[in-house]
Symmetry: C2
Amino acid sequence: MTATLIDGTAIAADVRQSIAARVAELSAATGRKPGLATVLVGEDPASQAYVRMKGKNCLEVGMESFSYKLPADSTQEEVEGLVRDLNANPAVNGILVQLPLPKHLDEEAILGAISLEKDVDGFHPVNIGRLVMKGRKPLFIPCTPKGCMVLLERSGVKLEGANAVVLGRSNIVGMPVAALLLHANATVTTCHSRSKDLRAICSEADVLVAAVGRAGMVRGDWIKPGAVVIDVGVNRVDDASRKSGYRLVGDVNFDEAVEVAGMITPVPGGVGPMTIAMLLQNTLDAFERTV
Amino acid sequence: MTATLIDGTAIAADVRQSIAARVAELSAATGRKPGLATVLVGEDPASQAYVRMKGKNCLEVGMESFSYKLPADSTQEEVEGLVRDLNANPAVNGILVQLPLPKHLDEEAILGAISLEKDVDGFHPVNIGRLVMKGRKPLFIPCTPKGCMVLLERSGVKLEGANAVVLGRSNIVGMPVAALLLHANATVTTCHSRSKDLRAICSEADVLVAAVGRAGMVRGDWIKPGAVVIDVGVNRVDDASRKSGYRLVGDVNFDEAVEVAGMITPVPGGVGPMTIAMLLQNTLDAFERTV
């Protein structure tokens, strides 16, 4: 058996196209454009690349991009001051503070300072609280978990009554994706580094979301035949055959899993492109609320 | 095999005794007492009984109790106005709006109007957001889930690596107790009315928390031999032999379960008394932050 690939690149392109069309429509009607501000503190190369890519994607769908770079030794007050300025700036509809922040900064206070209406990452505790509660609606759903759900939906995966297993319990992926799967009426198990017999737990999953950050940890025999596998991991492994010296792999051993699963997302080209597409969607939603 | 009973009445009495001792100490030092305000809208007899019991328990541990009763047809503005007055009242450390509210009121807005520092029920979205996020601390943990955790802790139940199954996904019990079990490093499965084969899921549980509101739904053969069973359900069933015409039973068929489980909470006398004890604890914590 060879699994069907869930093509995140194609689905994300389709989403971006719809966003671009809506942005064009709204811009023509209002003379304004949705704007996303990114805040990068420090010089981390991966974070620089992410922020650059987010800016580029904004422009491609007709949005404005505002890029703020602060030195690594910025004070708490300097970062929060910038966030407050952006809260007050009507040209900015979404504010994204790139994580991780330098260790000396209080991440919780900085994310909590972002206006709820501009919290396009969806990490404000009020948004998370509303996300996990039944009958409440967050203003924004965090981008990666939202991207996972769109991939499942566009692939026609039935979640109601399905056994969903989430491997990993991070604030950014594991916890919110578990909440979304539960709202979609799946039975949801969250497992993690302290769980016993991860293989046995994962092998019961009709839908398996791996978000643990360990290259190739999920082996073929962890997967129930025919299961849907969403691989959120992005891990660098050494590869002398590449000019860069490394390649990106997921948390799932793809070559083994593809022989067992029913559907699977590749890495790269699965969840990754969806994250940015959902960020654009959230920024558009924020803009729509102001027009 | 006959399960050990987890005696919630005795554990709650012990907790209340510690609270009373601390209240006496603080009152002697400050000349003030912790105060809990309850807000009851309408005439629901069960809600009236709950509110009365909460007030009585406050007095027993040396706290002040403020009881507010509003007519069933109160407007949103009237209820929110009362909440704002209580937020501003320094004699009030905790505010409890008794649920359910009459249908015409916006529960989310009313609970959201309670000052975070006085949200002793722990239902404010910021408290819930912080509760479910790793590395964040809510000001208050909702009382029933917190009571379940204290019962497990005082009974010496090892949660790390255990398979915990939560039956039910309510905002008040299922969702927050699942978050607390996950923070305690259990592997956590949430199942519910749309899950397939609840019996099979529950029978894998080392720790089973039933919070679904269906009398005796969990049968003996749903329980893994030796498992710890926490029964949150409080359901009325007809009983002609009682003067009241009914008796209270849990979500678990106790007579069957007690023969299979390793430990089990009875109903009544299990989780119930803990809920009020935790409310008193939260009110004391709120007061301690002001002294």
